[in-house]
């Protein structure tokens, strides 16, 4: 077994073990489940934790009260617990208010959520900003509930607490940054929750091993929407000044082909890098930006308009398992997750190499390559045709305006060859790095 194989297998085992630890944690917008999730992620990467107090304003929003579930269950007419949050944290409507009482079957029914079209699945449901209580269950189970009196216990509390966010910056030499953002606010959902943080953490481990980094890579974990907005209220100005590109990572664990959703700008460096890097991983489904979806709509809100796209496999909202208990461990594949990390690492490498801009120190005519060992000193017939194409391309477009990805786009030469040519020219004193 080769060492590379070993490394890939170790990574895959780590992904599955971490998934199994994160799966049962009771995540919501706020609370202990979120903190435990961030604790697990912090074992892989040096996350800085932010606890933003309830009531803190963030643009148009206010950090909500924290929500705690002590217990939540329904006891049937025969005295057995027919629904219990302890079995699955999907069973309780997110942010349910406290309630205790005895209800008839039909009174109870007004508080039940199920999916007639998908009768075996428990839906994921929330009511963050309107006071409700409720239980989620499969349509099949709901239909089987007999008439009679039910005892309902929703022992929850909301109280002034905090919203939990984490970030960390894997630093680069240039001061420029790439954002990688995912969310940690859904309970036990595999593709539309855990795939994002798992790919992000795996990607961190990969990037941390690069021998050098021109770019800094900033990883952010926060609740979807409110968390991203609070993060922007803390770091938005910094991102406006520093961000070269970014991606929201979500729904990266299922077995479908990759999906790329462009940034609002449509032709940002993030988007151009996706065009250059992702097709190597199979046919890509391309989507133009829309202000719907995940946190790209916050990063691309008109006050920021950051160059942030989104990388997915099956897009949220488009697959039938979405936001149901069927989005579970069986629905995803750890090989697919690892392929997603491969694709994201390729994106990051494309940004690292392709986002660099160089300026020629000998821009008037071409520099003498032969005397520097960059071109053959003997020409016989057509033997030198193509001998130093990458170098000629890099030097001609080292105008401080074209980035190396633009040289790739115009020349069709592999970015890696252009990067290597640029390094040789840098070493020969023919170029300087602009950023």
């Amino acid at each position: 077994m080769s060492s590379a194989a070993t490394s890939a297998e170790l990574e895959r085992a780590w992904l599955e073990a971490t998934f199994d630890r994160l799966w049962p944690l009771a995540r919501s917008l706020t609370g202990a489940g979120v903190r435990e999730t961030h604790d697990v992620l912090a074992e892989t990467m040096p996350l800085e934790r932010y606890e933003v107090a309830s009531g803190t304003p963030a643009y148009d929003w206010t950090v909500p009260l924290e929500w705690r579930v002590n217990a939540a269950y329904v006891v049937g007419p025969d005295g057995t617990r027919v629904i219990d949050y302890a079995d699955s944290n999907l069973h309780l409507l997110g942010y349910s208010v406290a309630f205790r009482g005895r209800l008839s079957r039909s009174e109870l029914d007004a508080h039940l959520y199920s999916l007639p079209a998908r009768p075996n699945a428990v839906p994921y449901a929330t009511s963050y900003y309107a006071p409700r209580w409720g239980f989620c269950l499969s349509q099949r189970q709901r239909d089987a509930l007999p008439e009679g009196e039910y005892e309902v216990v929703v022992d929850t509390e909301t109280f002034p607490g905090a919203l939990t966010l984490s970030d960390c910056l894997l630093p680069g030499t240039s001061g420029r940054e790439v954002l990688l953002s995912s969310y940690t606010c859904h309970p036990s959902l595999a593709n539309n929750e855990l795939s994002g943080p798992l790919v992000a953490a795996g990607l961190y481990a990969r990037l941390a091993k690069w021998p050098t980094r021109r770019l800094g890579f900033r990883f952010v974990f926060a609740a979807e929407t409110i968390g991203a907005i609070v993060y922007l209220s803390m770091r938005g100005q910094h991102l406006l000044e520093r961000l070269d590109a970014g991606y929201v990572l979500t729904c990266l664990g299922d077995r479908a082909a990759l999906t790329y959703k462009r940034s609002r700008r449509g032709d940002s460096l993030a988007d151009r890098a996706a065009v250059a890097a992702l097709p190597a991983f199979g046919e890509v489904r391309w989507h133009d930006f829309s202000p719907l979806g995940s946190d790209e709509r916050q990063y691309c809100s008109p006050g920021f308009d950051l160059p942030v796209g989104s990388v997915m496999r099956s897009m949220y909202g488009t697959y039938p398992e979405y936001h149901t208990s069927d989005d579970d461990k069986a629905f995803i594949s750890f090989a697919a997750l690892q392929g997603s990390i491969d694709a994201c690492e390729a994106l990051c490498l494309t940004l690292e190499q392709g986002g660099a801009r160089y300026r020629s120190l000998a821009p008037f005519g071409e520099p003498q390559l032969g005397s520097r060992g960059l071109y053959p000193d003997l020409t016989v017939g057509a033997n030198n045709v193509g001998a130093a194409d990458a170098i000629f391309w890099v030097l001609n477009f080292a105008d401080g305006d074209h980035d190396l990805l633009a040289v790739h786009e115009r020349s069709g030469l592999p970015l890696a060859d252009l990067h290597s040519a640029a390094q040789r020219c840098l070493a020969a004193g023919l170029l300087e790095l602009v950023d």
Copy 2:
């Protein structure tokens, strides 16, 4: 019969009755026929009349002398009037100078205009800027004129008078304007004259009934070329400051599909509105701007380059009845005229709604829609996917730069839905109208 049907039928009856009144009036560049035409139009809309004195300079031009026809006829060898202006105002060459005399058949022939290729039609002919007299008749009639002596009476006068123009502004709240321009200088021609003023007047009546108007709609009637140039000499600076879009209305009565000719800029708001609005009325024939045609060539002259396109059915110069007596009442259709008013009203509504630009008052991240009743407060599975798409699109692109038509172009959502979403956001204090 529904009230809407009644209203449409009343409009159609009004169109035909007005056509019948306008048809016999002896229009030319100047004169009583033009004034009578404007009098009729002024019954529908509060036209302001301008009488610009002969000799008044207007850029490279000078307002010509006024032309009056007292009588014009040819008496044949047998003593009967073989051609008479009293029968049709097409029979006399426009701006014919006065003449009285007796001529042989061949001497007369040098002053006759007919169309060999269309032997039953009387051509429309003019000689505005070179002194001539002549008569127009069908080739068939011309061929039948016997040898012998003819008596010719051209009892016309030119004298210092005035060029007649009219305009009116249906005001809007924004100070921005839309120009709707047509001409009133051809004698009895239906499609290539009366269809334009009739559609303009019908459109005025429609727009006047709108409950509110952001845009002002400016209607102009003037002689083609010289009239438009004189109007620009009076209002060109105002139009440069205020005009968002405009259209020359001409040849809108025949039964063919719509034609749209783009403004010189090619992608002006006028052109984008046409792309959005006109296809609902059937396949559209699109033409790029050319500096040939009607008064768009004045509005789009290089000193102005106003955003003015042109709406037609069959384009001038391309149909065989053009500029002949066959362009008569039978050639046009009042249903087609009414359909043209529908299309123009849709264009105006697209400008009214789609030309508006908004600025978000909560541009950093998205505003909290749920608390404002703009988004469902309960999420179960994928039930909210698409619940407020129009609002999200409007808010994200409310950057003071994109107009609502651009949001329609990017999102593919119906403009009416986006407009409605914008109104809800305005009411919620999330947006302000930029213009």
Copy 3:
């Protein structure tokens, strides 16, 4: 025989006679063969000669020592000269250092250059910047060389001399210029050397006969690469200020269709003129710019980025005869050379007419054409449709921004018609020439 036929036949005879004189001259980067070549060209055009001393710096380069060949041959074991520079100047590796000695067959072999894949051809080979000596011969001859002792004489010298360049400017009235550049540094090669100077000289003779010239046409002859760089060090600033367009002329004698390689900008006037002018000469093979090839890579280096493309038939490096003794008189066609002159003259005429920008002196509305005799004063039916289209187009786009080529591109009207219309408008005082 018509006079035009005579003129074309005289030109073709001149081309062949000049080819025959230039063919045997021993061209290299430097030296007497180059000077003799420029002497011949100077018989056709008033070339200014520049002798730039060895050691002169030019950007990243230094003018090399001059190289002189007194004699170079190899005597075989039987005492006969088996390879002799006197037979063909291709036999000696360019810039070979001096050597005298007796070598075995295998020692000699390390200094022989041949082409196994093209066994009858002698390759063209150089070692400008590394000290070597060597002989070029056909693979067939090389294989036939017997074992035994060989006497080698390479009687060459390098010494402080000069690099030879020539240019001349056929002046125009506007101060704007077009560059036509070719090279004179290869020994006896027909397509990839002499075709360029011959077309340039023939083009000069054509342009010199034009009755007027708005543009100046600058012809440059220099060694490829180092010569162009030295020329830029002398005239680069002037070209930055004055150049509207330029072309590198090379490989214009073979029988293939034309090839056009775009300038670095991709849409420069040079490129637009090629699109307008070249298709009349048959299907054109279009290539985007690449910083490989001939001296376009110097003119389009990032410090200059001049609007310089390249006109060819078969592109250098792509045909099997390239840089071998098979690129000889038989490989080219004097009819093809003359067709290349035709194409280049058409390019120059397109620049001369199409690069002109005009400004209307009556830009507000259209000027009154009829009173100036530019439009018919009698309109009957549709008879004037199209009567003055070119004039209307020229006047409408005489905004000082669109050049006449842009009017051609938008209108589809022949450039010659637009040019003629512009001249009529200039004469009528309606336009002024901007540049």
